[in-house]
């Protein structure tokens, strides 16, 4: 965990609502797959937690969906602007359990944390199968990036306007060694029911601090109380307790 001033070097739309922002600083460390950063914005009290899309020494990339005041402000930023960012947050995906042919399932704004994971898994020689789910064709992003890593990529859209009609669970491959997923909770619940192997889920929750101090994002698990920001955002399939009306 570090507090750093990062400089925006790229901030471009990849769909009507999703932007790609590259941030740089000398000495910025590699981020973990499934980890996140927490961004301070002018005039807004709480930082905005955003998952890491890609990371190299000295730079990181986020893909964020414009949904409110914070992300609207981010969308207006230009190369050269600086941001106060807490980096290296969260306990990310554990790659050691992936096996030879891991499956990655991402839904909408849940797609970004899977890219750095796919990059690490393909670099380790795994056969990575990716299923990306969206509502409609105009919202699709990331397909080419995952393909460029050498992943086998399937896309689903709820309205059938692109790829397979339906949800990520409608395009599961016959065989896979393990799975990693991130997306809206109804999708995560569907994956939990449909999955044939063990796997890891990345969760979202409203956070106060993002680094474990405020207990704002706690959840109950089979293995005790966990903070989504600290012990999470990634939880293992076997430890998840689906809360009523959560």
């Amino acid at each position: 965990m570090k507090q750093q001033l990062l400089t925006v070097t790229e901030n471009t739309p990849v769909t009507a609502a999703v932007y790609r922002m590259r941030l740089e600083a000398p000495g910025l460390e590699q981020q973990k797959p499934g980890g996140f950063v927490n961004i301070r914005l002018d005039g807004l009290f709480l930082r905005r937690p955003i998952s890491v899309y890609d990371s190299e020494p000295g730079s990181l990339t986020i893909l964020y969906k414009v949904v409110g005041k914070g992300t609207e402000q981010m969308a207006g930023m230009k190369a050269g602007n600086t941001l106060d960012v807490l980096t290296g947050l969260g306990n990310g995906y554990d790659l050691s359990k992936a096996g030879d042919s891991p499956l990655l399932l991402g839904g909408g704004a849940g797609v970004p944390p899977l890219y750095l994971l796919a990059k690490r898994l393909t670099a380790a020689g795994k056969n990575v199968h990716v299923v990306l789910g969206f509502n409609t064709a105009e919202e699709v992003f990331g397909e080419e990036d995952f393909k460029a890593l050498g992943c086998e990529v399937a896309v689903t859209t709820a309205d059938g306007s692109y790829g397979t009609k339906g949800f990520v669970t409608d395009a599961l491959p016959a065989d896979y060694s393990y799975f990693f997923t991130c997306g809206p909770e109804p999708m995560l619940r569907a994956v939990w029911r449909a999955a044939k192997t063990s796997g890891q889920f990345s969760f979202e929750e409203r956070m106060g601090c993002g680094f474990g101090a405020c207990m704002g994002c706690s959840c109950k698990t089979v293995t005790g109380y966990k903070r989504i920001c600290r012990e999470g955002p990634v939880l293992e399939k076997e430890e998840i307790l689906w809360a009523k009306n959560r």
Binding site: R40, E205, R206, C209, A213, C214, C217, R246
Partner: protein
């Protein structure tokens, strides 16, 4: 660390290097923050509200944002006093070498006394800050802090089981906070701290439902600073015991205002959540800001206003 006698203050008989104290619920059990900076630069800190039994707290979402602040409804999540003593305090001891303020909550007078008696035996604990003002739990917490008689009962019960200074943490969700403070003083309190959070809520325009699952939560952050300062000023004029001021303190200037209102020390809450190094920065900023306003020592400020 600012090695500077200009900043020293005394809180209920214990010397503090400076008056800056991270507030309970925003600083965990301290060791989490030792990853951000050497927390020995602090005057002290008030650890996470501790109860007799372990508590998960409220369902999520527990957090909402508002203009210049936030709302929380955590609901006193903590591992219970036995585990705090067995597991949290030893971890803290490795990174913090000053007396710590133990924050205690309860659901009955007996609860408060039980937990305080346990913590009284801990050498690391310098003060007991007794929270009779949590707005986020039912059947306890704030109900003791909204009635002078109940506040006095908790104070007297806690005083019986400890020799350590007892600071009663007060709720701003009352008509006359000075009357509650006076009741605590009369019942033997060594100090009072205020304010806990102000009750508030937000509604999600998309879902037409409260943002916070528990509907209401406690508002904190710079938005509440003027209200907090006013209450600290009023209480300082109503009691003779030391007053710890808090509520939206974010800068060294805010600390000085609180002390001019009469506070002996100042707690910093929500600012720690948005900037993990907030308290370190405030302490570092104090000498220059004091120079700017011709303040030689913080001691000269008490009651200056």
């Amino acid at each position: 660390m600012v090695d500077n006698k200009r900043l020293s203050t005394n809180l209920c008989g214990i010397e503090l290097d400076n008056p800056v104290i991270p507030a309970s619920g925003t600083f965990g059990f301290g060791y989490e923050f030792a990853q951000w900076y050497d927390i020995n630069c602090l005057g002290t800190f008030s650890f996470k509200g501790t109860t007799k039994d372990p508590r998960f707290g409220n369902p999520t979402p527990r957090i909402a944002e508002c203009a210049a602040g936030m709302i929380n409804a955590v609901g006193l999540q903590n591992p219970g006093v036995e585990k705090v003593i067995a597991e949290e305090l030893p971890k803290l001891k490795e990174v913090f070498h000053k007396p710590v303020m133990a924050n205690v909550s309860g659901f009955s007078v007996e609860d408060y006394a039980f937990t305080c008696e346990k913590l009284d035996k801990e050498e690391q604990v310098g003060w007991l800050e007794v929270n009779i003002s949590c707005p986020n739990v039912h059947g306890g917490g704030m109900s003791f802090g909204t009635d002078p008689k109940a506040a006095a009962e908790v104070t007297a019960a806690v005083k019986k089981v400890t020799a350590k200074p007892v600071i009663m943490k007060l709720s701003p969700n009352v008509t006359d906070i000075a009357a509650i403070a006076k009741a605590c003083e009369d019942a033997g309190a060594d100090g009072v701290s205020l304010i806990n959070t102000l009750q508030g809520m937000r509604i999600d325009l998309r879902t037409r439902k409260p943002v916070i699952r528990n509907v209401m939560g406690g508002v904190s952050g710079p938005a509440v600073f003027p209200v907090a300062l006013r209450m600290v000023w009023q209480v300082c004029r109503a009691v003779k015991i030391p007053v710890v001021g808090m509520g939206g303190v974010t800068t060294a200037e805010d600390v000085l205002e609180m002390m001019m209102a009469g506070a002996a020390a100042v707690e910093v809450g929500a600012a720690n959540l948005t900037d993990p190094c907030a308290c370190k920065k405030i302490i570092n900023d104090l000498p220059a800001v004091m120079d700017k306003y011709g303040i030689k020592t913080l001691n000269e400020l008490k009651g200056a206003c």
